[in-house]
Symmetry: C2
Subunit: 502 residues, 2 copies
Amino acid sequence: MLSQPASSPTPDLSRRLAKLTSILDVAKAMSAERDLDLLLPLILFEATKVVEADRCSLFILDRERNELWSKVAQGSKSEIRLPVGSGISGQVAQTGAVINIPDAYSDPRFNRSFDVSSGYQTKTILCVPMRDANGEVTGVIQALNKLDGGSFNAEDEELLLALGAQAAGAIENALLHEEINRLFEGFVSASVVAIEARDPTTAGHSGRVADLTVTLAQALEHLTTGPYAHTRFSPVELQELRYASLLHDFGKVGVREPVLVKAEKLYPHELEALRARFHLARKDLQLQSYRRRLEAVKVRGDKHLAEIEGEEEERLGTELKQLNEVLDFILTCNRPTVLAQGGFERLHELGRLQYSDADGQAQPLLLPREIQSLSITRGTLSPEERREIESHVEHTYRFLTQIPWTRTLRRVPEIAYAHHEKLDGTGYPRAEKAIPVQSRMMSISDIYDALTASDRPYKKAVPHTLALDILKREADSGQLDKELFTVFVEAEIPRRALHDKK
Amino acid sequence: MLSQPASSPTPDLSRRLAKLTSILDVAKAMSAERDLDLLLPLILFEATKVVEADRCSLFILDRERNELWSKVAQGSKSEIRLPVGSGISGQVAQTGAVINIPDAYSDPRFNRSFDVSSGYQTKTILCVPMRDANGEVTGVIQALNKLDGGSFNAEDEELLLALGAQAAGAIENALLHEEINRLFEGFVSASVVAIEARDPTTAGHSGRVADLTVTLAQALEHLTTGPYAHTRFSPVELQELRYASLLHDFGKVGVREPVLVKAEKLYPHELEALRARFHLARKDLQLQSYRRRLEAVKVRGDKHLAEIEGEEEERLGTELKQLNEVLDFILTCNRPTVLAQGGFERLHELGRLQYSDADGQAQPLLLPREIQSLSITRGTLSPEERREIESHVEHTYRFLTQIPWTRTLRRVPEIAYAHHEKLDGTGYPRAEKAIPVQSRMMSISDIYDALTASDRPYKKAVPHTLALDILKREADSGQLDKELFTVFVEAEIPRRALHDKK
């Protein structure tokens, strides 16, 4: 590609050799830089040096919109967009031909408005296309004002083209890298939203836990004393922590919906079945009463009928009232238990009550599993249901360990796995005391958000201050990390992570 | 980095210039190649040319395992792994110093066993490290047998180092690209598995549809006539199709579980409630009978009691039998309707039946919504439930359009969106007739797998041949694409996509 320059004989082979060698070095540095915000300044710096210009700018071709765009024209900060075909850069992008202008102000293609607005005085311009490996133009590099006061020469054209060719590949790689990362990030976020939508009361929880945890991790860098004085998280470590936080509840997809959103101790269909049984018992009491009336007539004769009916109506009334009273008690027991309550002993007595079913068989009015559910002393979940909810951590871990994480993200599964462990070993699923610092931060964020987020079927939202009190109790009792909790409070993580964003 | 070579003065600046220029061109080509299987041969080809060697090999350093690995030593096909430190390549990887051997057989570091097994005769060896932008060794390139019969010289060292430096960046980019793609792919697959796990009877469906559809798309390339004679799918288009297929049912996460797995026309809790009502009605018939007996005694006197009891027992027996018979009929109606059936008219008559509830109020024995559910003429789903199931396409589309797809994957949402559309406009959700060819292929795969996959709660699995018959009917009636269906059958897509894999 690089042959003898068109217009001048090569004056100094050594110098060209040195310049080409430096372009090779730059090419290597460029190919290693995948962050576009760092790559573009690097290219401009090297371009300015290699052609000995005062400043350079670079435009990337957006084929979809037929525009050139630039984040970093040297001397400018905001993104600039130019239509292809217009101006010097636009023409180079359109034709692919180099434009070398020895005196800008005498060239009709030059647009003085940029100079007018910036106060810069353009004298000489060299604008070359960047081409990808297929020879397609992917952008332009423009150098302004040759430093020695002369014009850009054929060697400058050759060198800037060579640099541009290397830059094109590096930019394409960086853009692609950015695209795939955005794609992965977008897919993860959208999946989490989709899964959280199954339980509307926890929607947005994972995103908030990610924001809280990452903000907390960043706040550690101000610590100069204590156990975290030297704990610092690099950008890739923060990314790892972000994914672990975002995905910590992914395993809830493996928990049945009715359990996830259970609002009372009996499921609605269980309560319906219980009510139906009470209806049957009610009808049965009436039937028993009429049977007894008929039996009494056999014994005492029909002249006592009115008397018999009077006795039986009274007895039936009492029995039905008792039955209603039992049902009322059960409905009270059915509500979520917030504070430790007594009174469940009576349920076991009620377990002895019977009625005759449709076939006349004696049946318990209250089933053993109903008694068990109604006796739940905390919230609405039975031990099995609590285990099912808690199993989401195992599901999350199993899900995450299936994924071929890149080397920099490889701890995502173990960080997420430990988010319900407690420092005193009372957590789950492993009752593990050695908990990664990332998970310890996540625990604080997770509990804080679960407490303060909008009402859930089984509990009311708790105000910020009360949430901190509850967290403090857990920290004081040795379950949560005290130092991290202090940073959480003192650095006002919730305000910075959640409220300042809105 | 590249300075005057250590041992010899530069004999020919032009030649070096030309070589460096060619390395720049190679660097550009390398940076554009993100497929490692194509990149590595390209590097070896250029390395061989630049140092004028007979052959070259390249080893990548695996720091975790402290090994060198190679996919493509020239002249070898399988992956080779060597411990760092051992052999010539291993030493270069360990020390980072170039090894240049003018006569292999007289050098103690040379291991003849490779020559012995391959029949190759190694004479001269040049082995150089590849270093990344931070100067870290990331691999080695080894050139064998200088073509002119002499040994490799200082200029060769210099050039191979320069090439290796560029190669290191390109390889790192390709590896990273591969890693992120694998991560994305892994995350997508694992999410699909997690979501499908909610409905165990459809587990694996999305993966099979992806295999079937991609195999069908590939089979089109053998067509030389007909509407698809010129339809060909590039690797990136196949990837797009694969993701669209894999994710076509993702929106099922937005459909409630009981609807997803509904096996009969009434949900289990609905049937339970209905049975409870029949128990109550049964008890009520008994109660009515006893009330009548008591009334009859009042009128006819207690001497007719035995007679009254006899009449009433007979009447009650008949009434209870009728009630049981109604329940049996309802249980029959409750099963999924496979073929169009009559007999549902009677349900509406039964809707007039009443019983007295626990408070003595007349109540319908069969609720209007139960009659509606039991009258379903196809499968087990009510129109609303069918709409809820069908809404998964909208959920899928909404989910997919949130994701920032890369340019090459941008059609994923629209391809997935159309997988339930029919060519005659009878599909859903848009009743669209203009359907992308990708979606038309996916429809065939989707229906085939839904039919042949293992038993679902509402239907038995259908054998391959019958499934093709059903698809043929849909193709003949103008719903499915006839040409694509012909390829599906003739190219034996199911066998190739599903069975050959196992």
